[in-house]
């Protein structure tokens, strides 16, 4: 035995340690893999030894090999052995190895549960810390479930080092075991105010991470975070909080308004660039969320833009990059303020850093206007010439095209210029984006009818120089533009100046070196061109010229017939046969041009890319149903290849049918059209890409371009786009001069009060060179309006979408490891003790402010529970409004998603807190009253105005007759009789919400106020002044704020005995108790304190601090409600209102 020990230790002396391994790998550069496999064999031997130190050494080496890419999962069990060593040195090695290679698929991981639990409760903070760190990397759902309670206990550990780690790891636990979120949340929230800054920072970190995924559940924490933001000096924490606010503001615009000021202060005061940048970012987010119908925050925007300009001008490339990044966010909502910094952004295009140039390009995309497009593109073209490296040049190219084509060529005033830009781009060498240019050429030529003549001229030049283009750049894909050129020349051949020449160019032997699909287009369009030449010559009475063309075709087409590309070959042989036929007819002097061109008659119309997808599936059509019976499974293997072959043969046979004579073709086409007409699934309104007969109906419906050409279209050769820029400038100058003259004349007439205005030129002033109607892309008539972009159902963060404000149910307790006869250590429900009480244990601060704060927080919480629902609704509506302005948004509350862990008895019926206020032919008003959170005598009335007329409603003004008790808050300086303007206009079919604040003195009684909405309705016929009277009803419930209350505090409150009592009873109620409670909660702003069977206690608080407690009991078909409240009158009124609600159930 002793001998074995000695032998073992001598062996050990010769074991390699990690350093030896590293050194060895360096010394075996040539046969590294072999050396390592040797080492792994040695390690395997070492792992078989009994000594834990040897094993630890082996595992340590394995960890290094893992980094080099070797799979070490085979040693998982040994790693666990090392993890369970008693010495910290070994334990740490074990946990490190585990964190590097364990994952959910590691089967031995379930063996670790008890070991980890032991380490977590170890007296040594290092053991606990190492276990927490390791676990954070390999926590599985099982581990999370089993260890959640242990970790939660550690969150209150005495050592901040452990608390910090425990808080952080909770996020991983939540991800793997979402059920643990609700029970652990109160403690997590508590940690936000931990005395240790590290723990606090960790808690902020976790909550920010949670809130980023499901922001709406964390709105209630906003006041707490707000407090932290104004008090914390830790920039890491501040950054996290400010980022979090960025995620919250879109859900709660009022939060945004409060944020602006402190953020602006921070921007002014901080010296830390990182904090400054995040502040600016969040201010931008706030401004975006406020941008609808709010008073202007131009000062804030200016501040942001200024600060960003400083960042961009900084010599630090990182700041420059981030500045541009943030700038692009502002651009989306406030393009004007960014556009004034165009110089700076254009400067960034010259930066040596490619990422910065790309960012600047992104910005340019949003900055172009009709006025600046040509200039910006000119600059970009200069960059294209200078650019080194194809990636950046390709990026430039795509950006130029993006910029020009954005929103349906909105900014292009001169399409000739655009075509010339595209042609210039074809001279780029080595670009991958030939197809992009080609697509643009085709798109413009098809959709902008006026440009066709010009385009055709350009394209024919391009075709003429084709050998040049093709030979030099064959491999680069620029030859794709020839695809477009050939097609355009063929399709619009009637515009060609010298069709013969183009025909010749398209039939050159060089063409056969082009890729197959381009040759195919060449061949097809040669025929189109030929047809139009024949027609021209026949009309001109020159049969010889026509015969010449025929001859040319007959000579040159055979080279395509020999093509290796099937498509080319097939088309060429078809066409060759056709031409031969034509030749025979020509010999007999029979006119054929008419018939031949009939082959290609008809217009092509652009169809929207999503048109097909948007056709709704008609009722009764099952797309998944078999059309034919599926082949029986008994089909033997041998038969299958045969069937495939057969099919293929058929496919080949199809194009041959083209050889059938014209009449037959026409007949078939007609038949097909008829069939299509009677076929409900055929998209009728969108003409198929197939050709139609000239007299086919439908062409007339297409919006036809009317063009007034003020610039002569004759272009000698390839024009430079710059010429157009000059032309354009001149033209604009002329226009301006004319306008100025006109103005002057006017001014002279008026008088000389105003001196010359600044020479600003807005976009609207620039009239396009050509009046160009762009043919819009067609959509099927009954297309569905929306694009569904469903979220990924597999999103792991979805499971964490959990309501955190609801009191905990028994079923939600975390599983606690119990000894058979021992009590559970500490039920997690105790965590739910109200914050107020906990705080009182803390060392005395200024008590007053302290109370205020906690009240504010409570208010915040309840505010968000109410607002959350409302807000969601609003958001939905806005979304809908955008998508289809015609559809009337539904004003119904969607049921909340089923909450985790607390199964509901039945789905809640939809509820809305908005009641109708008034309605006339123009506008419909609904409203909701909410107690104010900041002021104890204010309520906010949210009025939704919905315009269901066809007029634009503007100058809306709400005036209310104040009572002694209730007064409307008006802007400073306005009198009692003035109305309050509604901060937006309503286009037809749109609804929006306005909020008005009222101050109330006594809230024990319901109030009614009379008021009038006046507005101007403006439509094509003119504007009319309209009025709508209404009566605002402030119920007592509207003064209540949903306030959660725990049962202890509730009991204390009832014990105090200074509440007056009253009760009501309502008969004939059939609704389930659950729904009943939900209704009371929703309409009267109560929260359930406790519920036992069909009896529940509820609590709420008024804005002036009255406590209201209810006991609701459900009998057979009746419900009795006992109430206790600090004010008897209020209780009486409230119960009447509750009765009213119950009576409707």
């Amino acid at each position: 035995m002793a001998l074995r020990m000695v032998k073992g230790s001598i062996d050990r002396m010769f074991d390699k340690n990690l350093q030896d391994l590293v050194r060895g790998i360096r010394n075996h550069k040539e046969d590294e893999a072999k050396y390592i496999s040797q080492c792994i064999d040695e390690i395997k031997q070492e792992l078989k030894q009994d000594s834990i130190a040897v094993k630890a050494n082996a595992v340590c080496k394995l960890t290094y090999l893992q980094m080099l890419g070797y799979d070490i999962s085979w040693a998982a069990f040994n790693i666990i052995e090392v993890m369970s060593a008693s010495k910290f040195t070994f334990k740490r090695i074990g946990y490190l190895a585990a964190s590097q290679c364990f994952h959910e698929g590691t089967d031995v991981i379930m063996l670790t549960t008890n070991q980890i639990r032991k380490d977590l409760s170890s007296p040594s903070q290092h053991d606990t810390g190492v276990a927490l760190t390791g676990l954070s990397c390999f926590v599985t759902p099982d581990l999370a479930r089993d260890l959640a309670n242990d970790i939660m206990t550690l969150m209150s550990h005495t050592k901040p080092y452990i608390r910090k780690k425990a808080v952080l790891i909770m996020y991983k636990v939540f991800l793997k075991h979402p059920e643990s979120l609700r029970p652990a949340f109160p403690r997590l929230k508590e940690k936000l105010e931990d005395p240790d800054p590290g723990v606090q920072s960790a808690a902020v970190n976790v909550i920010c991470e949670l809130a980023r995924r499901n922001p709406k559940n964390y709105l209630s924490l906003a006041p707490l975070f707000f407090k932290l933001m104004t008090s914390s000096t830790n920039n890491w924490v501040l950054i996290k909080i400010i980022k979090l606010f960025g995620a919250l503001t879109p859900l709660e615009p009022r939060l945004g308004k409060k944020l602006i000021e402190p953020l602006t202060n921070l921007i002014h005061s901080t010296s830390a660039m990182s904090l400054l940048y995040e502040c600016v970012n969040t201010v931008i987010a706030v401004l975006i969320s406020l941008s609808s119908g709010m008073p202007n925050h131009s000062a804030s925007i200016q501040l942001c833009v200024q600060k960003l300009r400083i960042l961009i001008e900084d010599s630090d490339q990182n700041l420059k990059y981030l500045g541009l990044l943030a700038m692009s966010k502002i651009l989306k909502t406030h393009p004007k303020s960014v556009q004034s910094h165009k110089d700076l952004i254009l400067q960034c295009l010259d930066d040596k850093d490619e990422s910065i140039r790309l960012r600047a390009l992104d910005l340019l995309y949003g900055m172009v206007s009709k006025k600046s497009l040509m200039e910006i593109v000119k600059k970009l073209m200069a960059h294209v010439d200078k650019a080194e490296g194809t990636t950046y040049r390709d990026e430039l190219l795509t950006k130029i095209i993006d910029i020009c084509s954005q929103s349906n060529y909105q900014h292009i005033t001169n399409f000739e210029w655009y075509i010339s830009i595209l042609v210039e781009l074809t001279r780029l060498e080595g670009t991958r984006h030939g197809h992009l240019i080609a697509a643009q050429m085709l798109d413009v030529a098809i959709r902008v009818k006026a440009i066709r003549k010009f385009a055709v001229a350009q394209m024919s030049v391009l075709l003429d120089s084709a050998p040049l283009v093709a030979s030099s750049t064959q491999r680069n894909g620029i030859c794709e533009v020839l695809y477009a050129a050939a097609w355009i020349c063929g399709e619009f051949s009637e515009h060609l100046q010298e069709p013969q020449r183009t025909l010749e160019a398209m039939l050159r032997p060089k063409v056969t070196t082009l890729p197959g699909h381009i040759q195919a287009v060449y061949v097809q369009n040669v025929l189109k061109l030929y047809a139009s030449i024949l027609q021209q010559e026949e009309q001109a009475g020159q049969p010889e010229a026509a015969q010449q063309a025929t001859q040319l075709l007959l000579e040159r087409l055979p080279q395509f017939v020999q093509s290796a590309d099937l498509e080319v070959q097939e088309r060429a042989s078809c066409i060759l046969q056709l031409v031969k036929h034509v030749q025979k007819l020509q010999a007999k002097a029979v006119p054929v041009a008419e018939e031949l061109s009939a082959l290609f008659a008809g217009e092509l119309n652009p169809v929207a890319p999503k048109a097909q997808k948007k056709v709704p599936v008609p009722e009764g059509l099952d797309l998944d149903a078999w059309i034919n019976e599926p082949p029986s499974d008994s089909d033997s293997e041998d038969e299958r290849p045969k069937a495939m072959f057969h099919e293929e043969e058929q496919r080949h046979a199809k194009p041959r049918q083209a050889e059938v004579d014209e009449e037959e073709l026409a007949r078939r086409r007609e038949a097909r059209r008829q069939e299509q007409a009677s076929n409900p699934f055929y998209i009728k309104s969108s003409p198929s890409p197939h050709k139609r007969y000239q007299d086919a109906p439908g062409v007339e419906h297409i919006p036809v371009v009317q063009i007034d050409l003020s610039v002569p279209l004759k272009v000698p050769g390839l024009p430079l786009s710059e010429q157009y820029v000059k032309l354009e400038e001149e033209r604009r100058h002329r226009q301006k001069l004319e306008k100025d003259k006109r103005k002057k004349r006017k001014k002279e007439k008026r008088g000389r009060r105003r001196h010359g205005s600044l020479p600003t030129e807005s976009d609207e002033d620039i009239a396009p060179a050509q009046q160009v109607d762009i043919v819009t892309e067609e959509m099927p008539e009954n297309a569905l309006p929306s694009d569904e972009d469903d979220k990924d159902p597999n999103d792991p963060y979805r499971a964490l979408d959990i309501d955190l404000d609801k009191p905990l149910a028994d079923s939600e307790k975390l599983p606690v490891l119990k000894h058979r006869n021992a009590q559970a250590p500490k039920p997690p429900e105790k965590e739910d003790v109200p914050v107020v009480e906990k705080k009182s244990k803390k060392p005395k601060k200024k008590e007053k402010t302290h109370k205020e704060r906690s009240r504010k927080r409570e208010e915040g919480r309840k505010k968000s529970t109410q607002k959350k629902k409302k807000h969601k609704k609003e958001k939905e509506e806005r979304g809908k409004d955008k998508k289809s302005k015609k559809r009337r948004p539904e004003r119904e509350e969607a049921t909340e998603p089923v909450q985790n862990g607390a199964p509901q008895e039945e789905p809640l019926p939809p509820m809305s807190s908005y009641c109708p206020l008034a309605e006339n032919a123009y506008v419909k008003m609904t409203y909701d009253v909410q107690g104010s959170l900041q002021e104890d005598s204010q309520v906010t009335v949210s009025v939704i105005l919905e315009n269901h007329s066809r007029s634009l409603l503007k100058n809306m003004e709400l005036s209310v007759l104040d009572s002694l008790n209730t007064k409307m808050a008006r802007p400073e300086g306005s009198s009692v009789h003035d109305g309050v303007p509604v901060p937006f206009q309503l286009p037809p079919g749109v609804s929006n919400e306005a909020q008005f604040v009222f101050s109330v003195q006594s809230i024990v009684m319901a109030q009614k106020l009379k008021g009038t909405l006046s507005f101007i309705a403006k439509d094509e016929d003119g504007a009319t002044q309209e009025k709508l009277d209404f009566k605002l009803h402030f119920s007592c419930s509207s003064y209540l704020l949903t306030t959660p209350c725990c049962s202890d505090a509730f009991a204390k409150l009832l014990e105090s005995g200074d509440l007056s009592v009253s009760s009501i009873k309502v008969d004939g109620i059939s609704m389930s108790f659950q729904n009943l409670l939900a209704r009371i909660c929703f309409h009267h702003h109560f929260s359930v304190v406790e519920r036992v069977d069909s009896c529940a206690s509820m609590y709420s608080r008024s804005i002036q601090g009255h406590h209201v407690c209810l006991l609701v009991k459900k009998g057979e078909s009746s419900v009795s409600v006992d109430g206790k409240c600090s004010d008897a009158t209020m209780l009486g009124n409230l119960l009447e209102e509750v009765k009213g609600t119950l009576a409707q159930c």
Binding site: M13, N17, N57, T89, R92, N235, W236, S274, N318, S355
Partner: protein, 263 residues
Amino acid sequence: MIQAILVFNNHGKPRLVRFYQRFPEEIQQQIVRETFHLVLKRDDNICNFLEGGSLIGGSDYKLIYRHYATLYFVFCVDSSESELGILDLIQVFVETLDKCFENVCELDLIFHMDKDRVDRAGCVTQLSPRSCSYKAAGTLRRGFARMYTGSVCSHRLCPQPPLCHCWKERRAAGCLTWEDPVVSPVHYILQEVVMGGMVLETNMNEIVAQIEAQNRLEKSEGGLSAAPARAVSAVKNINLPEIPRNINLGDLNIKVPNLSQFV
């Protein structure tokens, strides 16, 4: 969240690979290679952000890196992290490494690179952007103040960094020395900075205190291997003259003591 932390040298050899999301080993290596090729192409005087794109996680993720002499430190993070904050975090990490391995040469180089640009007063604003701090944390700011301002800064630039004077004491106090295998300690240090993809601690003093406490504990337990094994392992290297004078472990140049005494 931080998705991955990669440290590799100028040749793309990984020095530390830490993923906070499971990837099979071969994918990990591929990511390291691709990331290396991405950052290698970039000049030192251009910005430190890269849109990672298809590498890890998609468009929400960014690569934020810093290049120190022979080492690249790359953090792959999502949009919940502040870009400048992460740059500072890398700085904290590197400085902590520097502090824990006091006789590290390569890492020391970093701080001398800007020698000519920092005057004796060590004013931060005159530093090159590369080493300029974005001051994410108050605590960090203190750290940087120590580093770049006042007398400490001039210390840093003197031939012998101040830490050299006390390194023996520090070693006695449990600080890491060249004798410890390097790779794992770097991990242990990282574990005190980032945990499970979330920033754990940004205060360098706290981190160093933790590490030193752990190392003391390890020392008291006798370390991973006893002294004899080390001596013998030196003997095992038959070609004694070929032992390099400087061993590059984790790119931390470590001076090898003269081994002739063992022969």
